[in-house]
């Protein structure tokens, strides 16, 4: 924490600048002082890792309504009547840079997805969330950083992203979370992810992509407890042009912040396999 104080006033610019400007402000912020290489003691965060890169280690969470819909949307009843107001859709300003540039047939599919979201949304079945959706779901995630691998571990479905910082490869196979190659551009972590399957969504509103999805993320610490997150989404099969997601992601600053287990498979078994249950067997 102390290492951050020296530049608190500069960092504050990035914090105050707010959602839209925070990324720009952060990139203009002076680099934090390099941490001395002495052993880190528990509970003390340094601005820099031993290799001199920004220290992103920690537990984070987006504070946003984008998990319902990444586009601007007003509040609405949720998709499950029995859950009433407790699972109603919260209104949100959106995290995208304009109406999503769907191709006409893709827009039709998006509308179908929305209409049938109770059965089609992969989140309902505890399926891996994909990228970028994992980054702004309503659960904490943790970054574990080393010079060669930056790991992102998500509460939801205990999804994992491995960011390969040195051993860059083409995706060896399609997967739910994709294959991520990362590098530092100054103090910005840039992650290039490909190798996706076509089974994940962007949100609960049915926004979707094909297996041609290509995501380039730029992550910058805009303060001791904030990340500026920007993702460029490219999928020529689904969209007419690339588009962008921008949002701040916050550090969970509670002293004992940690991921709790969310092994959601048992929660969805009856939903997925209930129709195959022996009729006479008890629930």
């Amino acid at each position: 924490m102390q290492a951050w104080l020296g530049r608190a006033s500069i960092a504050a610019v990035g914090v105050i600048a707010g959602l839209a400007l925070s990324f720009t402000a952060a990139s203009q912020t002076r680099a934090p002082q390099a941490a001395s290489p002495q052993r880190q003691t528990s509970g003390v965060r340094t601005a820099r890792s031993a290799d001199g890169k920004p220290n992103l280690n920690g537990v984070y969470q987006a504070i946003s309504e984008a998990y319902w819909d990444i586009e601007p949307h007003g509040a609405a009843a949720g998709p499950v009547q029995q859950l009433g107001a407790s699972y109603a859709m919260a209104g949100g300003l959106g995290i995208v840079d304009g109406p999503l540039p769907y191709k006409p047939e893709a827009l039709a599919k998006k509308k179908q997805n929305f209409a049938n979201r109770v059965t089609l949304d992969p989140e309902i079945k505890c399926y891996l969330p994909g990228v970028p959706r994992a980054m702004y779901m309503q659960y904490p995630f943790q970054i574990i950083q080393t010079p060669t691998y930056i790991m992102m571990v998500f509460t939801y479905a205990r999804a994992v992203r491995t960011i390969y910082m040195t051993d860059h490869k083409e995706a060896p196979a399609d997967s739910w979370m994709g294959w991520s190659n990362g590098h530092w551009e100054g103090d910005t972590l840039v992650i290039d992810t490909t190798g996706f399957n076509d089974m994940t969504w962007f949100d609960r509103a049915g926004n979707f992509h094909s297996d041609q999805l290509h995501v380039v993320e730029r992550i910058t610490a805009s303060g001791a407890d904030h990340l500026s997150y920007e993702a460029t989404i490219e999928d020529p099969q689904t969209f007419t042009r690339p588009w962008k997601i921008t949002l701040p992601i916050y550090r969970r600053i509670e002293k004992n912040a940690q991921l709790l287990e969310f092994n959601c498979v048992p929660f969805v078994e009856d939903l997925i396999y209930g129709h195959l249950r022996k009729p006479s067997s008890s629930n």
Binding site: R39, L128, N263
Partner: protein, 326 residues
């Protein structure tokens, strides 16, 4: 036959490599260190083993000779190859040699011990307490009441349901295949990524408080600390339906795992189970982990669990046909 020959040859070369790298020089080994001064365990590891948890009947020694172990591994590899002989029933399920599933294709640390259990010295689980017997009898009774495993998803073992497997643990024990792990260390955190079921075990080593007793998890809650060059992980707060219940353990088990790097390619894993509700005394096992190569792939088990759906659908179809024949 050809396949068996190939497997045996592969095993032969694997053993040759292993004999060279058997960890004998632990006293002189200098463990690599991270900038924070702690030992560096990072990389890819594999805990495949041919050694049973408990000492086999008729054996009254702690160790086999190297020749005996090599011979046993050869025989086991041949048996696994045999299992996939075309035309046999076993061949229908998996072709171990073709899909890289049999153990001879994995890095295996040579283990001369006759059992993974090192304490009690006889290599066997200690006797169960009366309470432990009652607990496990009640579990068996509940399973029986629920009906056959093909009646409903929750009657199946956790592994078939893609919820928790032996590799995930804790304690982390090998299965027949895919015993791959990656360890990543950052200051205050050790991550053990288990490939099977894409299970990231996050172990804080920053001295933080444990979770309240009311929070129970399949994998419990782990806290790590360094004891010299050994990483010690204590785990409590398990649930009653967790993986190690299959071994008889209760939710109140206290597990202590110890990792020590004894050579460049061997990480010694030792765990102690302290569960006075179930066992009359604590017991410990030791499993060497062998250096392996990455990457860890995404094992999306639940997402592709056709097996469970098909098992249940097949059973319902059988019932329908049996009814029609009446």
């Amino acid at each position: 036959m050809l396949r068996r020959f190939v497997a045996a040859t592969a095993l032969g070369s694997a053993i040759a490599l292993l004999l060279v790298s058997t960890p004998t020089a632990q006293s002189t080994y200098k463990v690599p260190r991270l900038p924070d001064g702690h030992p560096d365990f990072q990389g890819f590891w594999n805990n495949t083993t041919y050694t049973p948890l408990e000492r086999p009947k008729g054996i009254d020694r702690d160790f086999f000779t190297r020749e005996e172990v090599v011979e046993q591994m050869k025989r086991a590899a041949a048996d696994e190859s045999e299992q996939t002989t075309p035309g046999t029933i076993a061949d229908v399920h998996y072709d171990f040699t073709q899909f890289g599933l049999d153990r001879s294709q994995a890095p295996v640390a040579l283990n001369l011990r006759t059992s993974l259990i090192v304490d009690p010295a006889d290599g066997h689980l200690p006797p169960m307490t009366e309470e432990g017997k009652r607990l496990n009898a009640a579990r068996a009774e509940a399973r029986k009441r629920a009906g056959p495993i093909t009646d409903a998803a929750e009657n199946q073992p956790l592994s078939v349901r893609c919820i928790q497997m032996d590799r995930d643990g804790p304690p982390m024990l090998a299965g027949a295949y895919n015993n791959n792990y990656q360890i990543v260390q950052s200051p205050g955190t050790v991550l053990i990524l288990v490939e099977m079921l894409h299970d990231p075990r996050i172990i804080p080593t920053d001295g933080r408080a444990p979770l309240p007793n009311s929070i129970r998890q399949l994998e419990g809650t782990s806290r790590g600390r360094w004891d010299g060059d050994t990483l010690v992980i204590e785990t409590t707060n398990f649930t009653d339906m967790f993986m190690f219940a299959a071994q008889g353990a209760s939710a109140d088990m206290k597990l202590t795992e110890r990792f020590t790097r004894i050579s460049d390619d061997t990480l010694m894993y030792r765990f102690t189970v302290d569960d006075p509700k179930v066992w009359t005394r604590p017991w410990s096992a030791e499993v060497p982990w062998k250096k392996s190569v990455g990457p860890i792939f995404e094992h999306a088990c639940h997402e592709g669990n056709y097996s469970l759906a098909n098992l249940l659908a097949g059973a319902r179809e059988d019932e329908k046909r049996a009814k029609a024949q009446k």
